[in-house]
Each structure stands twice: as structure tokens, then as C-alpha cells.
Symmetry: C2
Subunit: 308 residues, 2 copies
């Protein structure tokens, strides 16, 4: 055995674990002491069918250098040591991170580019179809909004989608890590929502105000540069201020929705047995995009009809 032993495990005649003696204790008691007198009978152990993540949690909770592994009849069949724990922690973190990026470790185990591309495409393809949904929503709003107004409003759709996506990923990553590190394991989704709600309101208001100002500035600049006049179209009905207000309001709503989903979905996925890390992945951010662009263009349409 190359590895250092930390404990002497004591088994009965049927190999069932009965106790444990730390090496340190063995050294410090008189030589003729009976093992049964110094052994610790209250041994933390795991069974062969335990999930690796749970084994890591057991070892970490008790700060153990090693944990004995028992079969289902209580017989000692092996031990898991601290260095296995480090490997598992690395592996689980890898798994989560790659999943959040929309790929998985399977692609690294395969040398072939075609196989790696195939793993990535399984995530990218549903997203691509989702973004076609965004395009379709935008196309459907074009006629009711009118060409000139659409051309102005649409400039800020990527802004709203991107910021909704970013703030949603911030929230979901906080939750996903909390669930993975057991910090939030016993916490209810309501408690998490109560933490996230005021943050979302603050972030939404701040981004909403800044986005409104930036939109006002871009539309004003677009007008000042004479870009509108170069186009063969009736001028847009929307004043820069109206665009700014619509962008502000849509930004606030998109952020509230994204943070809400980013908080709720990891708990929801865990409940139905799906890895919560999916919630920060490209599939969810794509769904976010479709909803937030619909909210934005609806607000644009409402602003126009309230003006006209």
C-alpha cells in the first residue's frame, strides 16, 4: 500500500466494521492495551451505492482524511481518501461550468473535432431555433409598429435582451453555486426569491434609467446626423423621449423577469431531477430573449398608441 493510512479499521470475523483507532492513539497508549478499549465505535462510513457528491459532503462535513466504504451487509470493502475528494470536487465544478456554457466534459474526452463539434451543436441548435423565434416575433411587430418606428425601436432590442440575459445569469449562478456547495440546499425557493427580489428591483431601476438615457442619446444622435432624412420614409412618430421611456420600462421588466426565472428555475430543475446548472445555460437565456423582446415591442406599441 503506497498510501498513508490514517486510521486502523477494526472488523469482526465477518468483515463487518466495528470501530476505528486513529494511528495517533495507537502510539500514545501503553503497548498492552486491548484494541476494543481504545477504538471509537461511532464510525462515519459510506455504502458502496452512495453518490460521489454525497460522499464528498460526508467527508467535508466531518473534516475526515478518509472514510470507510461498506457493502450493503456492513462489510468493509474499501476506503475513500482526501485526494479522491479533491478530484470529485474538481470534476463536479467542471461539470457545472461546462453545462452553464452549453457544452460538457464529453467533448474533452474525445480527440475528434467532429465529435466535439457535435457535442457543442446539441446545445447550439435548439438555441438557433429559439433565436429564429425572436426573429419571428420581431417580424410580426414590424407592420403594426410601422417601418420608421420599428427601425428606431429595434435598435435597443439587443440591449434589453443582453441585459436581461446577463442579470438572469448572475442570479442563477449564485443559486446554482449555493445549491452545489450545500449552502442553500435546505433553503426554500421562497427564501431565495426574497433575497433576489430587492436586488432585481435595484438593478432593474438602475439599468432602466441608464438604458433610457442611452436610448435617448442614440435616437437624438441618429436625428442630429440627418440619418432619418436620408431615408425615403415618413419620419418616425416616436420622439427620443418616448423611445427612452419605453426602453427604461422594458429594461426594468426584462430584468425582473430574468432574475425571477434565474432564481426559480435552478430549484425547479433540481426538484424534477435535472441538474440546476442547466438554468444558466444557453437554452434558458434564449427563452428569456423571446419573452423580453415581446415585452419591449408591446411596450413600444402601447407608447405609440398612447401618443397618437
Amino acid at each position: 500500500d503506497d498510501e498513508e493510512p490514517f486510521f486502523i479499521y477494526v472488523v469482526d470475523e465477518k468483515d463487518r466494521l466495528r470501530g476505528l483507532v486513529p494511528l495517533r492513539k495507537l502510539i500514545t497508549v501503553p503497548p498492552n492495551t486491548a484494541i476494543s478499549a481504545i477504538m471509537n465505535r461511532d464510525v462515519v462510513s459510506v455504502t458502496v451505492d452512495e453518490d460521489q457528491e454525497e460522499v464528498v459532503n460526508v467527508i467535508r462535513r466531518h473534516d475526515l482524511p478518509a472514510v470507510p466504504v461498506l457493502d450493503l451487509d456492513g462489510r468493509l470493502v474499501g476506503r475513500i481518501t482526501h485526494d479522491d475528494v479533491a478530484d470529485v470536487i474538481f470534476e463536479e465544478a467542471d461539470e457545472d461550468m461546462l453545462r452553464m456554457a452549453g457544452t460538457d466534459a464529453a467533448e474533452l474526452e474525445r480527440a475528434s473535432s467532429v465529435r466535439a463539434a457535435r457535442v457543442r451543436m446539441t446545445w447550439l441548435l435548439p438555441c438557433l431555433i429559439g433565436t429564429a423565434g425572436t426573429a419571428l416575433v420581431m417580424a410580426l411587430f414590424r407592420a403594426p409598429v410601422g417601418s420608421a418606428n420599428f427601425g428606431i425601436l429595434i435598435l435597443f432590442a439587443p440591449m434589453i435582451m443582453a441585459m436581461g440575459g446577463n442579470s438572469g445569469i448572475q442570479a442563477s449562478t449564485i443559486i446554482i453555486r449555493g445549491l452545489a456547495t450545500q449552502e442553500m440546499a435546505g433553503q426554500s425557493v421562497l427564501l431565495a426569491l426574497r433575497r433576489e427580489a430587492p436586488i432585481a428591483v435595484l438593478v432593474g431601476l438602475a439599468c432602466g434609467v441608464v438604458a433610457g438615457i442611452l436610448a435617448f442619446a442614440v435616437v437624438s444622435l441618429h436625428g442630429a446626423l440627418g440619418l432619418q432624412e436620408m431615408l425615403n420614409e415618413p419620419p418616425a412618430d416616436l420622439h427620443p423621449t418616448a423611445v427612452g421611456v419605453a426602453v427604461s420600462l422594458a429594461m426594468l421588466l426584462a430584468i425582473l423577469m430574468a432574475v425571477g426565472l434565474g432564481t426559480f428555475l435552478p430549484f425547479g430543475f433540481r426538484k424534477v431531477g435535472i441538474d440546476p446548472a442547466i438554468a444558466s445555460g444557453p437554452l434558458i437565456t434564449t427563452s428569456n430573449d423571446v419573452i423580453s423582446v415581446s415585452i419591449y415591442l408591446s411596450i413600444g406599441l402601447l407608447t405609440m398608441s398612447s401618443l397618437g
Copy 2:
């Protein structure tokens, strides 16, 4: 001392570490053996000024349950044990993941919503300004492209930006984890680019073809629904096929660029002493957006002028 000792550290009269005796050895040699005869003089140790990530790598490389810590004069001042290692691995993975999501662990240590919102805003605000850049680029293309064509072309800008962003994050996450787990630590950026290049070409071609078909379908549907006729504008010059081709080509280029940057930037950041995890963060994806929307609208403009 609550913790289990694994080794006896042997020091000289000046407290300088001279050797180490595993407890196991101490038990198995005759009682009157001299420590100097059984001690291992070749001790793996770390110094007080070592970075915690490097200490973890030392412990993992040697599969040690503990490593002695020396001051700069070689005096034994403490030890770091396996359970500290697990904590550090968790912490570093947390740090990377939160940074990739555009926030950091600082927000969790603070109970106040205002402070958490402030941490998130430090990432969101530069992104917001970046997305105003996207809006400005789009606004500048509007007049030369023409209102009707712009209204059609722009429907697919979010698709190209999102897919460029997603494929860039896939590549950068693979690299960031490779660098963090030391798998790629000694690898050059050229080797990584050589791995990623064929994957990017395959993914770019696949997404390009599918995106072209989807764009053709959306523009055709837009025409078939009579949405164009509802607008007071001259019909768009761009046939659905031309839009499809422009979207395909722009998608390929956006993915090649995003994967290239996603591969190169983590190495570049590491070189100048910045955490590579930044490369998957919102700041880089926002820059990606501005570049890919510029590429796309330029291709749209070229397609139009080559048609007319």
C-alpha cells in the same frame, strides 16, 4: 490539537524543518530506533508567501494529506491539511463561475441588497454602455441599407449575436477550466487554437446553413403573411434567398471570430496577470456583439450593392 496528525515533522534547534516521519513508520520500527535513521529528509513544503492555488496544486500533485508551511528562513510555522484544500478548490471554482457570470463572491458576504446590487452593477454597467455601442452601429447602418431592407436584415442580428456569444463562451469555458485544472497550464495558445479551429469551422458551417434556412423561412413567412404590404414603404430589395445567404455568411464569420477570441483571450489575460475567467464574462460577449453585428450589416450592404 483536534485534528489528526499524519506526519511527525522533525526540526533542528532553530526550528528549521529537517525531515518527516510518517506515523505508520513510527509504529512499525523497533522502539529504540533513532528518528534521524527513519526520517524522510526530502520533504515537500510550501512557504508562507505561496499563493493558495499553488499550495493546492502541490498537495494534489503529491497526493499529500498535509503539507508543512515554512517561513522565509525555513522555520516550520504550520501546516495545511487536506480539508483546507477542499475548501480552496470550492472557493476557486466559485470565484471562476461567479466571474464568468459577471458577479463575484463579495456580494454573498454582504447581507445588504444595495451592496449586492452594486457588485452586480459594476459588471452590468459597462455591458449596458457596450450594448449602446451595438445600437449606435445599427443606427449608422440604417440609412445606407435603407429602411425596408434594414427592417428585414435586422430581424436576424440577435440570432447572429446570440450564437456568436454562445459558441465563444463554449470555447472560452473549455480553455478557462483547462487552465484552472492545470491540464492546459503548460500548453501554448497555438496548440489550443489548433484544437479549436476545426471545431469552430464545423460549428460555424452547421449554424450558418441552419441560420440561412431559418432566415429564408422567416422572411418568406413575413412576405406570405402580407406584412410587407401593410407598411407604407417601398418593398425591400432583398429577396429571402439573399437574406439567407447574408445571414449564413455572417453567422460563420461571427462564430469563427467568437471562438477565436474565446480561445485566445484566456491565455492573453493570464499572461498579463488577469483572471482568465473574465474571458467568459459579459464584458467580452458584449464586445463580441458589437463586432458581429458590424460584420453582419456590412455583409448585408455588400449583398445589396452586388444585387443592384
